[in-house]
Subunit: 457 residues, 2 copies
């Protein structure tokens, strides 16, 4: 934004003059330059990127959303598009290809294979992994060297790799041998520090934290956070090094997963793009789908009410406290589900801890229920006119104690059950829990009320 | 966990034999070894840490929670405690001191100053910054060199620093001069790659993304994510380099902030520790505080109901749909508030975008309201017995259209307003929005119902 504001009316000049863009590129961070391109149309951006040196063009292209990349490249000559694709980082290139339809993917890969057969093969291989797995995040551009190499030779080799742009990071050197098997790792720091005649095998550490290519990206992020890793190597079952996931992608995963969880918990099907990039129709669909499901569930409340119409007719005061009672349950359930979902997301709790969780939530729920139930008793006592105030108080207070306790327990156990059966626990969203406990709250209320009014008083 | 399971009964041996712990330390990642210590009591852990070489002891101590660190060090001889503290990373040491009471802090700093006066001064300075700011995250152990230094000299200097353990990272070399002012940055990669007779000034890049020490940690994380930074330098107003924030701390911040937002949105005062580390009393307090506030707000629903008791008495069927109507509003509001809060957290939306948001949410809310309202009309039509079914249908359906639209708008604007007045928008939690729109839902319902039943039909 700042950069666009800085350029002001000159922004229009950009559109027709790649030279201006190149100058801006010299002076600003590519991320800021890429943001400028958001305000130009696809054809203009395509023309600009094609006119720039292809490594500069690719560097800018990589920073746009995958959707936008597709729109831009579709408007380019195939040759220009292939030139840009060939210069992109392998993981970004794969993200782009993932956005394409199968036939477009194949056609473009064939084009790429004509000029850059190795790049095409590499892309094809990476496309085989789930985009949300370690394999989908990894780049094959890492520094790998044999164990018998001496430190000074390794530094020379790294210089060569860096010069050719063959490695995304050279700060971790992977020591491989016996068929590309990962034997250990040496940091560039240790490499520089050591006696230069030592071999990599002498100085490498063999304690390497690795992931499998099929591991979920959340697992990669969890390990990187736990062990403070800047790079996570990906190995297959034979411990052959396939690629590395770099920390910048890990940070993106952490943010993306937190956004997805937040949206799920708010009862929204997660968005692909940012708030303002999402179309109104997509919003109506992604919010409407859940709202309709929840509404259908909530229709049960009307049925429960209908069945208990006679009770209400007898004591109309009971109706006054229905919103209060069901919302107390909803709020208590929302708290415990949020806590457990987040605890599972950061690895603090697992489904097998359910019994321990149950014990804690039972005590907490009961304590909270008694406090709120006491307040509810007081308020209801004041409202009793056609009915014994104490009976109404007990009906409301007792129901609150029960429903708060039950909701607390359901809110904590339901997400664990959902995780256990292999779904994302965040789907047991706050609105979902609220709907479940609303129906339950009414059932409890009518039972307790009947008991209190007809039997006890 | 795996490591603890692996050791099994041998875990007890650890407690009395630092030698065993040292052996485990050789073979496993320190993070896993530190986890083993969770199962031992404070006194035993203190004895073990004191018996290990102090850099090993400090490395393990750093990985425990700050609370635990305090409990452990309080049980140690002052000399042993000071030895461990002196070996900790500066940012971890500061986190520890932050946990202490003012007088304990002073006493321990004085002790530290006796043997390590420089460390004590540095700690004192770092303690001056808000723990949740860039200053609170930064470490003063970075590599800084003068601009006239040649590449080969710089590499020699880095070797020396790394050997002395003076820099937490040497992969970014900060070029400083004219009174420690940050002039530019050179990556170790470029340093190795370049002609070794070039000076740092020749090869450094001057486009450095920096933060101020008072910047919020969320801002640091946002910049690191945006620009793919592994280290973020912190400078004062004169552009003097004060310290650097490393990516491992950035990842922790991102996770911590996401957890805090998730808990706030679930209506819980954010926890300091993990789910199982938080005591039951703290839970009751942190959940109860919000539940009571929400309950007090929800008491308004009983008042609104009381005022409209006559309407209910006239047409009891109206009561049947109260839970359905208020929950529809709550769910719609929950969706829009979640989306906006997250959009603001990741920098997609700002309070000044409120008008654009209002326009979008109005359209989306109306579309969703019409769909749900149609369903509500159908269900209510079937329930009309003492009243014209069409009138009941219009009362319920019309109210749903209105309340869903209103809730969608309130859910999106309220968090922006809260951010605008400088509070964390996540406090406008799902339960909070639900409480606001519950009351509103009842008011709308009774007005629409009166109109539909008495005037229209």
């Amino acid at each position: 934004m700042r950069l666009a504001a800085l350029l002001g009316p000159d922004l229009k000049v950009l559109e027709n003059d790649p030279e201006v863009l190149r100058e801006v590129f010299e002076d600003f961070h590519p991320e800021d330059v890429a943001e400028l391109l958001d305000d130009l149309d696809d054809v203009a951006v395509g023309r600009l990127l094609a006119a720039l040196p292809s490594e500069v063009g690719a560097d800018l292209l990589e920073r746009l959303s995958s959707d936008r990349q597709v729109d831009i490249l579709e408007n380019l000559e195939t040759k220009d598009a292939v030139d840009l694709l060939a210069e992109m980082d392998p993981d970004d290139r794969v993200d782009f290809f993932t956005e394409l339809e199968a036939d477009e993917q194949k056609a473009l890969l064939d084009e790429l294979a004509r000029t850059e057969p190795e790049t095409a093969t590499e892309t094809q291989e990476l496309l085989g992994w789930d985009p949300e797995s370690a394999g989908g995040l990894m780049t094959p551009e890492y520094a790998a060297l044999p164990p018998e190499m001496k430190a000074w030779e390794a530094i020379e080799a790294l210089r060569e790799m860096a010069r050719k742009g063959e490695a995304e990071t050279i700060y971790q050197v992977y020591v491989v041998g016996y068929g590309e098997k990962l034997l250990g790792v040496v940091s560039l720091r240790d490499l520089i520090l050591t006696d230069q005649s030592h071999t990599l095998a002498d100085i490498m550490t063999e304690k390497v934290v690795t992931v499998a290519p099929t591991d979920d990206q959340e697992e990669v992020a969890r390990l990187a956070a736990r062990y403070d890793l800047n790079v996570v190597p990906v190995v297959d079952e034979q411990h052959v090094l396939l690629g590395v996931v770099t920390i910048d992608d890990v940070v993106d995963v952490v943010i993306e997963e937190a956004t997805e969880d937040a949206q799920l918990q708010g009862g929204v099907v997660p968005l692909e793009d940012g708030y303002f990039e999402t179309g109104l129709l997509e919003f109506v669909w992604k919010r409407g789908a859940w709202l309709i499901v929840l509404f259908l569930g909530q229709l049960l409340t009307a049925t429960v009410m209908e069945r208990n119409q006679a009770v209400l007719q007898g004591t109309l005061e009971l109706a006054l406290f229905i919103p209060l009672i069901i919302s107390s349950g909803g709020n208590a359930g929302s708290q415990s589900s949020t806590l457990i979902i987040r605890a599972m997301a950061v690895g603090d709790a697992r489904p097998r801890d359910w019994f321990k969780v149950l014990g804690r939530e039972l005590v907490i729920g009961l304590a909270l229920g008694i406090v709120l139930g006491g307040m509810g008793f007081g308020r209801a006592y004041l409202a009793g006119e056609t009915v014994d105030p104490a009976a109404l108080g007990v009906a409301v207070g007792g129901s609150i104690v029960m429903i708060v306790t039950l909701s607390t327990i359901i809110g904590s156990l339901l997400p664990m059950l959902i995780e256990r059966i292999g779904l994302d626990p965040a789907v047991s969203s706050t609105p979902f829990i609220a709907s479940v406990v609303d129906v339950l709250g009414l059932l409890v209320y009518f039972s307790v009320a009947t008991l209190a009014i007809e039997v006890l008083f």
